[in-house]
Subunit: 126 residues, 2 copies
């Protein structure tokens, strides 16, 4: 996404009209992290079984998707995405159990956060 | 801050070792927003009574601080920062009641969020 387009949009994701936020789960190494971009990429890989199709859906280069998956596979003690290089489809891929568990935890945190925000929002007056 | 330095640090602020986040309050115009950067700048202006000293403390250019204050003053129906241009100190400044109320709301949301995160963190295993 070109940098310029960011200037005219609100930061983060809208958890309510009045509160936007972004959440990251931090790996045990305190260096790697799982945010909504990696989660969405992993969810699409799980749905489509293909890194190239997941990348295309996100308007992301294949190279960028690979880099993100390399990062994703450093987050936990076990890899989250299993890649198979080559073949006519340009690389088949799937999530491991650890990967599915990681994205489930991210989405669960988001769900609880949404409830927290819904309770908070009525009090904000800027 | 140069872009490069961002590559080696974790995103957001550490609300726990396992969960980082960033929060923004959205203005009623659904275009302006108040995040931790603007809050910190406003807090320093309140403490120091000076835009240039607040900017210096944040390693921010005076021009950048002015731009942020212009944005801050669009968030609510009333301005948050009152500026006086010129003078030997390079411009005196103070927060309005609305500005103090806005940063208090941001910090209160953060405080409640910290409690929410503390309750959540024990369950995360990546």
């Amino acid at each position: 996404m070109p940098k310029k387009s960011r200037l005219n949009r609100l930061p983060g994701d809208a958890y309510s009209p009045q509160i936007h936020a972004r959440l990251w789960l931090i790996g045990t190494d305190q260096k790697s992290y799982l945010g909504v971009g990696k989660v969405r990429l992993m969810e699409l890989i799980s749905e489509l079984g293909s890194i190239s199709q997941a990348a295309k859906t996100l308007n992301m280069s294949y190279k960028r998707a690979w880099t993100l998956i390399e990062e994703v596979n450093q987050i936990g003690p076990k890899p989250y995405v299993i890649k198979e290089v080559g073949g006519s489809g340009g690389g088949h891929a799937n999530l491991t159990e650890a990967g599915l568990h990681a994205i489930a935890q991210y989405r669960e945190l988001e769900k609880e956060f949404t409830v927290f925000i819904a309770q908070r929002t009525q009090n904000i007056s800027l």
